[in-house]
Amino acid sequence: MLTELSELKTEALTALDSLTDETSLENFRVAYLGKKGKLTAISAGMRDVSPDLKKEVGAKLNEVREAITSGLATRQEALQSAKDASAVQGIDITLPGRPGLGVGSIHPLTTIRDLAIRTLRRMGFVLADGPEIETEWHCFDALNTPTDHPARNERDTFYLNDGRLLRTHTSTVQIRTMETVKDLPVRIIAPGAAYRRDEIDATHLSVFNQLEGLYVAQDVSLADLKGTLEFFFREIFGPQTVVRFRPHFFPFTEPSFEIDVKLEAKGKEARWIEIAGCGMVDPAVFAAVSKTRGDNLFDPENVTGFAFGLGLDRLAMILHGITDIRHLIENDTRFLTQFS
């Protein structure tokens, strides 16, 4: 029986060497160690072994079982680790990733508007809003624009059949806000669309986007205007930005200024770029508002304020180097995805 066991051991370990897959290993286990396996069959012969040999045969039986079991385990482990190694075989990690649904993009105009809004909100401005279909009173009269001013021209301004118009600037929101607020100070910004009867070309759209700002309180001066807008434009264009205020004329502010920032274009000398209009609210505007309110909250003798307005399309074009404003409304995906 000892011989039998030795032969079985040799046979099993030899057979194990040629096995390369899980199924054959399982078959091997059944064939040798299973209930009807060869080792089991031999061990059944223990009953007939003489007592003096029992110890020796038992030890041999254990040794053979141990050898086969551990041989099988080693083999199984080797097979598993070969399999684990092959799990990443053939994966070329240099290939590009899965695109999923693709990457979308926020419109550059939105991005710029949001930058402006976030900056101004940090300075305590809150948002305000007003209709785009406006009365001539809100768009012109209340903003101290003379009755026969060229801007009221049907050549320059879109009118509706009922005499209302499409607002030519977001300055209407100044009036809308002052008409309705309950207390001072007023410190608002109003982003929105405005309309002018311009032929669409590389630098003009008939519908464009502005951002209006208004701060009214007891003692607002040019110093506030200057501090606020310098800070704002340095936040937008960078801390080193040089800002200048040129005297100008707007009917609804006095004094009025245009704001230029000095910008460098690629490979060119730095140039002053006109970026916004601003000024101290004209007392006539406060007078108009007071008249409709019927109270003294905006008494021109008591309150002062500043207002500013800037073109967001233009700002987006300057910041992104966009050469044709029409790109902003055509939505060519090749354009939009440049801003993802």
Partner: protein, 800 residues
């Protein structure tokens, strides 16, 4: 307005100031410099030369070797590439050492091994116009060696934007006055524009003002025996330098005086006038042929200068063709008058007729220089065109008083300007420099007389502006005061809109922006409106037929966007846009509504090696995007009528509330856009999204006990909306039922596995209790109850 530096320099000495310094000076006075054009070259090395000989260059086909007489006595050899000259022509010659525009220095040298000692110049090379076609051929009478700069004086032309309030700057005198005030330079021998040496006499019989509000003051002067002809060179050059075309000496002089003093004048051919002048409103329908050759039909609001039989000029705008000065004119009536801005503006606007004259009257001329301008023009006419002027200036009416005293309040000034070191004396000094006259002053207030040309100075704040303008913002300290702002609805909706944008970008959508003005044809692409033409707001004066209405929906714009991208070869379309639409209400008012619009079409993902041909988007991709929007609660779909643009046309609802619309673009419409894949669109009211997102999300305890699911399959009529089954489930009051999920939909059009008019729906129902682990029996009971109810509530058969 174009302004000549050389002309300006006749009034004050600006030498020693560079063009850039002058430009800054103007800019910070509030006069925007839109362009600077440097003309001619101020050089002693450019002379008139005569070409004595020209032979072919031995080494270059295109060049010639010329001998040129430069006045020095010995011929100068110059190699030249131009072909437009002949021997004997006189041309500008730049001698070695001359510096041409662009800092280009002329040197002695060789061209293709032949000596060339100078350059013969084109007009462009000398900063004169754009003519680069050849040499500038000069007058053959000019003496050789004459300095070119004496021939054509170098000049700098500023193109200025004068703001509409500053009509006083629309002339060289006006600008000189302003620059003198800003620099402190004295004005050189400037005539006092309000004084005149000719006695004036009321023109009682031959000057009649019938509309004194529109024309309060009119003067006329008769000049006889003149000879109309071309203007002298100096006058032609002056006019040409500011962009005017010389016509004849009389007309040129009136234009010259206008650009000199800002007062428009008009000269009539006195022989063509029939009797005295009447300034009156036109009669309706009256016809008038103007100097521009066009016939205008006048209205009663137009003011005309008429003789006894017909209008001879539209007041302040343009003279008539018949009565204008021509070569045969010998006697003129010279008009100088004041016309009210509103009248000139109205007529100019109505007729679409604008002139240098109307430009000035519209903004407001200075009535006090009417006589002075007439006198300057008369003097020039007598000198240049000869003739004799009448002894007196005839006039009617009187110059209107447009300015009065204005007070400067010190406290107001400080409050507005916020310049701590600004002393009142400095402010007064500024006003005085600007020509204002201090009438009285107390501790906190002073009153000022305003010059007649400063019609913009009417209120106290106008004087403050003058001080601010001259002091400049440099001296204003920058102040930053933090003021707390309480955000309201506008702030919240902005934040929400940005949140929605980011959510959509994360799903691979591109934000678009389209025009809010669309064409009548595009109206039928409106989503969410069954009768877009009824509710669209039309523009009364559209710019083109492409932009006739305010949009009632964003979809028309997104469809145009889709079409553009398809034309560019892009079939994967994923767009969204947020913005306003405009709806006409039955009561005549309109509503502006903020919406979100979505459009998807074509491959859902970009092509890649993992999927070379991603499937095309379907309506459920779009619905999935909508369901993922932040702030949107549960939605239901209600089908509405399809039309030529939309199939699957449906309302997106929550109960009775309409939140938006979803549809597939009709294949016929999609084919018009050359779409290769179905296009799906949706619009949502932003207010609807806002309602779902009120307040902060509230935490719920995590479940402590396991959940169990039970599946159910059912057969239903093919046209039964699955939403009805879902509605039954969500309406149940079964405390153990936590959620339901449809996980299979099956139909077989061939009828083999299921009758063609039937479909199979499979749902997974999840049960859980917050208090205990559920027993199988209680789940079975609840499940059976729910299924029994389902078969009663909805026409389905449970498949066992």
């Amino acid at each position: 307005m174009k302004v000549s530096l050389s002309w300006l320099s006749t009034h004050l000495d600006l030498s020693g100031r560079s063009t850039a310094q002058l430009s800054d000076l103007l800019t910070f006075a509030g006069i925007e410099v839109e362009g600077i054009d440097e003309k001619g070259v101020d050089s002693n090395k450019i002379v008139v030369g005569q070409i004595l000989e020209s032979v072919q260059h031995p080494n270059a086909d295109r060049l010639s070797v010329c001998q040129v007489d430069d006045g020095s006595g010995s011929p100068r050899q110059i190699v030249c590439g131009a072909k437009n000259y002949k021997v004997g022509d006189k041309v500008p010659v730049a001698l070695p050492g001359a510096i041409l525009p662009g800092n280009f220095e002329i040197k002695e040298g060789q061209l293709r091994k032949v000596a060339s000692n100078g350059m013969m110049c084109s007009g462009k090379e000398l900063g004169l116009g754009d003519d680069h076609s050849g040499l500038m051929i000069l007058d053959p009478e000019l003496p050789v060696g004459k300095l070119f700069k004496d021939l054509i004086q170098p000049d700098v032309i500023f193109d200025l934007e004068i703001t509409p309030n500053r009509s006083d700057l629309l002339s060289h005198v006006g600008l000189a006055r302003e620059l003198a005030a800003l620099t402190g330079l004295p004005l050189k021998g400037l005539r006092d524009h309000t004084k005149t040496t000719t006695p004036a006499q009321p023109g009682t019989s031959n000057l009649k003002l019938e509309a004194p509000e529109a024309c309060p003051y009119y003067t006329a002067r008769i000049i006889k025996g003149i000879k109309v002809g071309p203007s002298p060179d100096w006058l032609r050059q002056r006019l040409e330098s500011v962009g005017l075309r010389p016509i004849n000496n009389v007309v040129d002089i009136t234009n010259y005086v206008m650009f000199e003093m800002g007062q428009p004048l008009h000269a009539f051919d006195a022989a063509k006038l029939n009797g005295g002048i009447v300034v009156r409103h036109a009669s309706a329908g009256e016809k008038f042929r103007a100097l521009d050759g066009n016939e205008y039909t006048l209205a009663e609001s137009d003011l005309v200068i008429a003789d006894q039989s017909r209008p001879v000029a539209i007041a302040g705008v343009m003279g008539g063709e018949e009565s204008g000065v021509s070569d045969t004119t010998t006697e003129i009536l010279l008009e100088s008058a004041y016309f009210a801005p509103s009248v000139v503006r109205r007529t100019g606007r109505r007729l679409g007729l604008h002139s240098d004259s109307s430009y000035r009257f519209e903004r407001g001329a200075d009535p006090m220089q009417v006589q002075g301008a007439s006198e300057l023009a008369a003097k020039l006419i007598l000198t240049i065109a000869g003739g004799t002027a009448s002894d007196t200036l005839q006039f009617a009416g009187a110059p209107p008083q447009l300015v009065s005293e204005v007070a400067l309040e010190e406290a107001r000034m400080h409050r507005l300007l916020g310049i701590p070191d600004l002393k009142i004396d400095e402010a007064h000094g500024i006003l005085e420099k600007l020509g204002l006259e201090k009438r009285s002053a107390s501790t906190d207030k002073s009153t000022w007389g305003i010059p007649s040309y400063r019609i913009d100075l009417q209120r106290s704040v106008d004087l403050v502006e003058e001080v601010a303008r001259v002091v400049g913002l440099e001296r204003v300290p920058s102040r930053n005061v933090a003021v707390m702002g309480t955000g309201d609805a506008a702030d919240r909706s902005y934040d929400q809109a940005m949140q929605i944008r980011h959510a959509l970008v994360n799903r691979g959508l591109n934000e678009a922006q389209t025009l809010r003005l669309i064409s009548t044809a595009q109206l039928t692409d409106s989503l969410g409106t069954l009768t877009p033409t009824n509710v669209a707001v039309p523009v009364k004066n559209p710019l083109s037929e492409d932009h006739t209405h305010l949009r009632t929906s964003i979809t028309p714009g997104l469809l145009a966007t889709a079409a553009l991208n398809i034309r560019q070869g892009n079939s994967r379309l994923r767009f969204f846009e947020m913005g306003r639409v405009f709806l006409q209400l039955p009561n005549g008012t309109s509503r502006e509504e903020e919406r979100l619009a979505l459009l998807v079409s074509g491959p859902i993902a970009p092509m890649g090696w993992t999927d070379a041909d991603p499937r095309a988007a379907d309506v459920f991709d779009l619905r999935g995007i909508i369901e993922s929007l932040p702030g949107l609660g549960g939605i239901e779909i209600k089908r509405i009528a399809d039309n030529d643009t939309f199939l699957l046309n449906s309302e997106i609802r929550n109960g009775n509330r309409v939140l938006g619309w979803i549809a597939q673009i009709h294949p016929a419409r999609a084919r018009q856009l050359d779409a290769r894949h179905p296009i799906y669109v949706a619009e949502l009211l932003l207010s609807a999204l806002r309602q779902g997102s009120a307040g902060h999300a509230k935490f719920e305890d995590l479940p402590k006990f396991p959940s169990i699911t039970r599946d159910v399959a059912m057969e239903a009529p093919a046209d039964l909306p699955a939403q009805k089954v879902a509605a039954y489930f969500s309406g149940l009051k079964e405390p153990l039922l936590i959620s339901t999920q449809v996980f299979d939909v099956f139909a077989d059009a061939t009828g083999t596995r299921l009758p063609a008019d039937r479909k199979s729906l499979a749902y997974s129902l999840t049960y859980r209790s917050a208090e205990r682990t559920l027993e199988t029996a209680e789940i079975d009971q609840a499940h059976a109850r729910i299924l029994a109810g389902l078969e009663k509530a909805v026409p389905v058969t449970i498949r066992k």
